[in-house]
């Protein structure tokens, strides 16, 4: 029992986590590729053409997973940031900072694919429906987090301030989503909605799930890579990083 407790804290140290992350990264890339190929195969080859929307609807195989991931990553980011703040664990804060750009990317992708979907169907590049608008606001929340951390020089203060912002954001996301939905249903001028997806054939759902898993594996891989870079940057004055960077052996091939 004590052994397991000690082990956990051991991996909370950047020095131990760095090589562990390095070993895990290729596995996650592999999983991402696997799920991605399966998902895209279903999405673009196997799933049937939609009666109403033709071939253009296939973009939902990117759009929906991107939306799911953008939301999920924010929650994970806020979780790690909160852990880092509450227990004063540097690695958790670094993990949150590593996740943010990927989450922002997915939010942006979701918006962009949403626009690409909307144009052939509804004739406009943008539609103020509840989901797209909430996605836009989520992107703002990500950008705010990234900008705040970028503006603060001291990494420990940046972590703590970001954590407070992320936690406040998490509490506000349901409120924002609810208020945007309310706003949208009241202003029924815009009757088009990208959330009115065609009724799902089982195949389509599988395709989306697999693509979502692919995006998830990709996020983990990228976040681990990013966190390793952050570790090297922040801990560059410690012995283990100096040894690593001075070309001391095999690990040089691991980080690009």
């Amino acid at each position: 029992m004590t052994d397991r407790v000690i082990n956990w804290y051991k991996y909370a140290s950047p020095q131990t986590f760095y090589p562990l992350a390095g070993k895990l990264i290729p596995w996650f890339w592999a999983l991402a590729a696997l799920f991605g190929i399966a998902g895209l195969a279903i999405g673009f080859l196997i799933a049937p053409t939609d009666a109403q929307q033709g071939e253009g609807y296939r973009i939902i195989f990117l759009h929906v997973p991107a939306s799911w991931l953008s939301m999920f990553i924010y929650l994970v980011m806020a979780f790690w940031a909160g852990i880092g703040l509450a227990f004063n664990i540097r690695l958790s804060g670094m993990m949150a900072s590593a996740l943010a750009p990927t989450g922002a990317l997915f939010a942006f992708l979701s918006l962009w694919t949403g626009a690409l979907w909307g144009k052939p169907m509804w004739g406009t590049w943008w539609v103020w429906d509840a989901r797209l608008t909430s996605e836009l606001i989520l992107l703002f929340l990500y950008i705010g987090f990234i900008a705040l951390q970028a503006a603060i020089d001291d990494p420990r203060r940046a972590d703590k301030a970001g954590a407070i912002l992320a936690l406040v954001g998490v509490v506000n996301i349901p409120i924002i989503y609810f208020s945007v939905k309310w706003w949208n249903t009241l202003h029924q001028g815009a009757s088009v909605s990208l959330t009115k997806a065609p009724s799902m054939a089982a195949m389509m759902l599988w395709g989306m799930l697999l693509c979502a898993l692919a995006c998830w594996m990709y996020s983990i891989a990228i976040a681990l890579m990013r966190v390793r870079t952050i570790m090297l940057e922040r801990e560059r004055h410690t012995d283990w990083v100096r040894e690593l960077l001075s070309g001391n052996g095999h690990d040089m091939s691991r980080h690009s």
Binding site: I137, F140, L141, I143, G144, A147, L148, A151, I152, R156, R157, K160, A161, I164, L165, L167, V168, G169, N172, I175, I176, F178, S179, V180, W182, W183, L186
Partner: protein
Amino acid sequence: MLILLRAVIGRDLRLAMRRQADIVAAMFFFIIVVSLFPLGVGPEPDQLRRMAPGVLWVAALLATMLSLPRLFADDHRDGTLEQLALAPQPLGVIVLGKVIAHWLVAGLPLVVLAPVLGIQFDLSRDALLVLTVSLLVGTPALSGIGAIGAALTLGVRGGGVLLSLLVLPLYIPVLIFGAGAVDATLSGLGPQAHLSLLGALALGGVFFAPWPTAAALRVALE
């Protein structure tokens, strides 16, 4: 605790009275921004009447944002913020006092000005009343939520713009329910639902927001 609140609010109000130029400038900013919209979209009365709730609310958001940096920056600069953090009372209560004082000085003038400006947009009397009430209920939320942003960006490079980036997304629900209340009146639906939700946001903004704000202040003072 009430004594502490009175002490904090009293001090901040006294300071604001000695620096009236700041308050008046924010009020004029509100007026100017509101006047920009008709100049931008044209004087057609129907269009202006429809736009009015949104325009007035957005202008109120921006005017509040202008006054937020002052909430903690002055105290931080002369060392009084440190003393507040070292006071033997919860920093959250002190922040609550400062938020209330900020609302009295920055939010309340907007509430008073809004109906006057609403006349420029030819809003009906009912709509003007609901507009004023919505701002009265909503501006405390703006002060409370804005305080979080002000504390997070204390002494940080690019403070003002960064503050807007952080706080404006969080303001969106207040904007939606505030402007929505007036819209609901204009379309005959009745503003009660909007106003109660707005009230809930105000309570949250005023009573819950001081705690993350206090945490952010301690982080800024480290």
